[in-house]
Symmetry: C2
Subunit: 219 residues, 2 copies
DNA sequence: GCTCTAAGTAACTGACTAGTTACGCGTGAG
DNA sequence: CTCACGCGTAACTAGTCAGTTACTTAGAGC
């Protein structure tokens, strides 16, 4: 029997099919949650057959695990490319805070996937043994900036890098994560460009204002 | 036909049935999300018949709207009972930050429900016209503390109450919301009492350290 | 050019799910 | 007392879902 024209166009390409499924899964899981996501919807968006999802990823939950691994890998690898060692401590910290804020802004799916995973109490993430190693450079990176700042006499002493990172991420994450409910309860369009620019400035001011020994956010 | 003994025990009580359904809905929606929640599960947990959910609340989504209204009402009404006017500005701010942190700690369902609602971009919350009025006292409360602090010369000038609230909430919310993924990626039990106490102190130090003109969190 | 393995497809299935139907019964107003 | 209305129940339905089966086809290795 003749192959249909449509089938003739789509050549075999296992790697690309896997990639397309993963990208579609990021889209659908982040917009619908884990329970709300439909495997059929992921297959359709990927332009792949549903059977291929089970072939490459096992089941819906394992596909979600692969999604988490991919998105964590993305943010952490971009973070490592910042080359903060080339900047003075204050500029380095400002850049880290800005990057973190803008990463959340530019990658809303990351926030939604993390919120979904926390709904399930990190059950999927816990099955990824490499995830912890992936985050050790981040802690080291922050510790290095803090140490340099303390040595230069510009940062306060005794700040825990992990606590600080949670605060840096928190002031940005919460804004982006809850922009819909916050805009509604306060009656302000917090998703508008002006509001986001204002928030970015506030967040940088906030972190630097806390860290600097003279208490200002100016550098 | 004779009524069963079990049915005889359960007397009619519309108010209590509504309450039980709402409480069960908070439990199930917060642990399973909106898509993951099963109407049958809510009915069973409420000890009510599924038909009663449709009788009192219309459908699953409208039930979720009632849940949001109930939980927002709870946090905001408790906030108003803090009587922060009786405290000096620094003590008042410290108490507001502590309350906010401990409210999230003691009400994990609140965080999970808000995350779920943000997944749906506040579609349900937007149908509650009273929600904005419910939050005006909060903004006013924070503004009053800030104004008193500036007048007393202990707080920096020009801080936007809404931006500040988002930061106060953010540094606590993110910690509690993402405690599962953060504990996993950093390999620390952030849900343990010691870690929570440390975080609470850090958060208070952080907000006060930013606000105070001398840059310390000490009062 | 043949064969074997893996990529890919379509139709299917059993379990589940939101919402409905039809009816029984408790209670308070008159 | 009584009866209408609203509380409450069980069984049902139409549709949906994750995962499977049975199959075809592409292409690498010989």
């Amino acid at each position: 029997m003749m192959r249909s024209p449509a089938a003739a166009v789509a050549k075999r390409n296992p790697e690309q099919t896997k990639e397309r499924i993963l990208a579609a899964a990021i889209d659908v899981f982040s917009s619908q949650g884990l329970s709300g996501a439909r495997v059929d919807a992921i297959a359709e968006r990927a332009g792949a057959n549903k059977r291929m999802i089970y072939h490459y990823f096992g089941n819906k939950d394992q596909l979600f695990v692969h999604v988490l691994e991919a998105v964590y890998g993305h943010i952490r690898s971009h973070e490592r490319e910042l080359r903060l060692d080339d900047l003075d401590p204050i500029a380095a910290m400002r850049e880290l805070v800005r990057y973190t804020f803008d990463y959340f802004l530019g990658n809303p799916h990351f926030i939604k996937l993390l919120n979904t995973e926390n709904l399930y109490e990190a059950a999927h993430l816990k099955t990824l043994p490499a995830i912890r190693d992936m985050h050790m450079p981040l802690t080291a990176q922050i510790k290095a900036i803090l140490d340099r700042g303390v040595a230069a006499g510009v940062f306060r002493n005794g700040v825990d890098p992990v606590q600080l990172y949670i605060s840096i991420a928190g002031v940005g994450y919460f804004y982006h994560s809850n922009v819909y409910t916050l805009s509604t309860i306060f009656g302000r369009p917090l998703g508008a460009k002006d509001a986001i620019d204002e928030r970015r400035a506030h967040v940088i001011d906030f972190i630097l204002g806390y860290l600097r020994v003279d208490g200002t956010g100016n550098g």
